[in-house]
């Protein structure tokens, strides 16, 4: 009797194991299909990104260079948005200090290439390394301060950096800080576009894998419950510091690219307005989301371009308004509306849209 029972048990176990392997292969198939689709979508996206210059040439003709130049700026903003999102959306550090890295890195690059006649690539490398160092210097003390206190302290850092960079300009007696010695190919708008977006694509890939690796999961755990994360053995100080450094490096790279893009460095790069732009990108796009960073950068980058298309001065009845004044106001208003109506960001909208499509698709399938 007993032996039969065990045999039955064994059989049942075998059976369940069989179904499990079956289910596993099923899941594997589904996952593989999903990966295929995601891969295809990514390839299509890359293809479109690569084709955009040609499309722009067809649409805009002579002004396509200028339009592409604007588009490259959005690529630079995407990098800055990723940086802010890693720090604020993932590691939950409400730091407003990224604009300081942005400005300092741009000045360093310009100083190295224009004043010290170093090659451009050395300049970029040193600017990014200096940003990493700054990230450690700022991130270290930031570990002791949290929440609102951190926000105000880092906001102070931005104003101070802006004031000191401005002081440097006045001490050196220059109106604007020209970036010379650029590699010749970066003067061409098409080449600049490809240069920026190749970097953006590589960075998105790297950031995606960083966020799905040990570090990223630790950041998310810290964000969701600091105490629980600590109890699980996550070294809070170390991981927070890593978030500061990664964010500083990315922002520094964005700053150096921005100086390349504008061919000057200006102290307004480290200002309250720049901070607002960085925060607006991640809050509008969605905190803790790579898609959100991209969408937010497009939102913040395109609005000034679109508003620039308006006739100036704009006449509303007998009221004449300079559009350049309205720009910031409309920008602020859109930001407010986005915050009120999509408090979780535009990226959640895409998720919702995707769910809706899937549901519609399912219903179509069953009928």
């Amino acid at each position: 009797m007993a032996s039969e029972q065990t045999r039955e048990g064994e059989l049942a176990a075998l059976d369940s194991a069989g179904s499990e392997t079956q289910r596993k292969t099923h899941v594997n198939l589904g996952q593989r299909l999903y990966a295929w689709r995601a891969g295809l979508a990514m390839l299509a996206g890359l293809f479109i990104l690569g084709l955009i210059p040609t499309i722009y040439d067809q649409i805009f003709g002579f002004s396509s260079g200028f339009q592409l130049h604007n588009l490259s700026m959005i690529g630079i903003l995407i990098i800055a948005a990723l940086a802010q999102n890693i720090l604020t959306g993932y590691a939950a550090q409400p730091s407003l200090g990224n604009a300081a890295f942005f400005g300092v890195s741009a000045y360093l690059l310009t100083w190295l290439t224009t004043d010290l006649n170093q090659p451009y690539w050395v300049g970029i490398l040193l600017a990014v390394l200096a940003s990493a160092l700054l990230g450690v210097i700022v991130g270290g003390p930031a570990l002791r301060v949290s929440g609102t206190y951190l926000a105000i302290a880092t906001l102070g850092l931005v104003t101070i950096a802006g004031a000191l960079l401005n002081l440097w300009d006045t001490t050196a007696g220059r109106q604007d800080y020209q970036l010379n010695n650029l590699p010749a190919f970066l003067g061409d708008d098409h080449a600049l576009y490809y240069f920026v977006f190749i970097i953006v694509v590589i960075l998105i890939f790297l950031v995606y894998h960083l966020l799905h690796a040990r570090v990223g999961r630790a950041w998310i755990a810290i964000r969701d419950n600091e105490t629980a994360a600590e109890a699980f053995g996550i070294n809070l100080a170390s991981y927070k510091l890593q978030a500061f450094v990664v964010s500083a490096v990315l922002t520094g790279l964005a700053g150096a690219l921005y100086a390349t893009w504008a061919q000057t460095a200006s102290s307004s790069m480290s200002s309250l307005d720049q901070t607002i732009a960085f925060l607006a990108m991640i809050v509008v796009g969605g905190l803790g989301s790579i898609t959100g960073s991209v969408l937010g950068a497009i939102f913040v980058g395109f609005i000034p371009i679109l508003l620039g298309q308006l006739p100036s001065p704009l006449a509303v009845g007998s009221f004449q308004i300079q559009v350049s004044i309205l720009n910031t106001g409309i920008y602020g208003l859109l930001l407010l509306l986005a915050l009120i109506f999509f408090p979780t960001g535009l990226s959640s909208l895409i998720g919702r849209g995707g769910n809706l499509l899937r549901r519609v698709g399912k219903r179509g399938g069953t009928q």
Binding site: T88, P94, P141, R144, V145, S146, G147, T148, Y149, A151, I152, A153, L155, G156, L157, T159, I160, A163, L164, N166, L167, T170, T171, T227, L272, I276, L279, A280, V283, I321, Q322, I325, L326, T328, G329, I330, Y331, G332, L333, L335, L336, L339, I340, P343
Partner: protein, 313 residues
């Protein structure tokens, strides 16, 4: 020799008084910031813009319809109350349940909107304009120590406002309910406090304090523009954080400390250069103040007078 020493003493005293006066202005702003932050949880970066908007309104009333200064001031203060109520209903209410960080960013956006609005309605305020007050050009002479009339007004108004707010918060039902809300909103709601109405009162009071400090600042600088509060606001925030972000006297003291540091540093550094570098530049002064602020935060993360943060596990 004695004479120059007395003169230096007098000059230093003059600087200290100037520090107290600007510090009171920072302190007043910090007071309003802390009031709104503690009760409604909004870190209000639009605070300067609100004050600037109302001060701009006062300037227009004086220069446009040629109103008497005191009448215009009265109308402006009423206007400030309305602005506060409108902002609470139109802005703070819809974002009430958003995280603190999102709300802070929303106020940054609000500041942009308010400044643009002011600039679109009153284009002349885009650049600094002369701000007239009855106090202009009057000063008190105490044995060689000059104190201008507006400085005395600022000190008196600050003291009165602080006293009044304190009485309001400790002696009236509304004030006590407000302090209860600062500790725990659901609990105060359960105790029957009209939370919605108190939010409105807080914002109206906040706008009033912002307007008073903006008008005082404009009177002291004798200049006004749409963005004239921006440079002051960050220092006010630093003062508020130094004070611990949770007590009104702390905020006032923090602001006064910043004002004193600002003026004394300006006096000590004036006219000095370090090689080609001009140390008397405001940038250097701000850097030093900010450095001291960070040092204080590192030693006391909860601010000078703040309660230590407890973490519930």
């Amino acid at each position: 020799m004695l004479w120059t020493e007395a003169n230096a003493m007098l000059a230093f005293l003059q600087v200290v008084i100037a520090g107290l006066v600007t510090g009171s202005l920072y302190g007043l702003l910090a007071l309003g910031i802390v009031l709104i932050y503690r009760t409604t949880g909004v870190l209000n970066f639009a605070y300067g813009a609100i004050g600037a908007l109302c001060a701009g309104f006062l300037y227009i009333l004086i220069t446009g319809p040629q109103l008497n200064f005191w009448l215009a001031l009265l109308v402006t203060l009423l206007f400030a109350l309305v602005v506060g109520i409108v902002l609470e209903r139109g802005f703070a209410r819809p974002v009430l349940h958003a995280p603190v960080f999102t709300k802070a960013i929303a106020t940054l956006a609000l500041a942009l909107v308010l400044e643009t609005l002011a600039q679109a309605i009153w284009p002349q305020l885009a650049s600094p304009q002369h701000f007239f007050t009855p106090f202009e050009g009057k000063a008190l002479n105490l044995h060689g120590l000059y104190i201008s009339a507006i400085d005395i007004v600022i000190l008196v108004v600050t003291a009165l406002l602080m006293l009044g707010l304190n009485l309001f918060l400790t002696r009236t039902r509304q004030g006590i309910a407000m302090r209860a809300m600062a500790d725990n909103i659901p609990a105060s709601r359960l105790m029957g406090a009209p939370v919605g109405r108190i939010f409105m009162v807080v914002w109206a009071l906040g706008a009033l304090v912002a307007t008073i400090s903006a008008v005082l600042l404009a009177s002291r600088q004798e200049l006004i523009s749409v963005q004239f509060m921006d440079p002051v606001l960050l220092l006010a925030f630093v003062g508020a954080v130094l004070g611990g972000l949770d007590s009104l006297p702390g905020a006032l003291l923090g602001g006064i400390l910043i004002g004193l540091a600002d003026n004394i540093l300006g006096y000590v550094l004036a006219g000095h250069t370090l090689g080609p570098l001009n140390i008397s530049d405001p940038g250097i002064r701000e850097t030093l103040i900010f450095g001291g602020f960070v040092l204080v935060l590192l030693l006391r993360p909860q601010g000078l007078w703040g309660r230590a943060l407890l973490r519930r596990v």
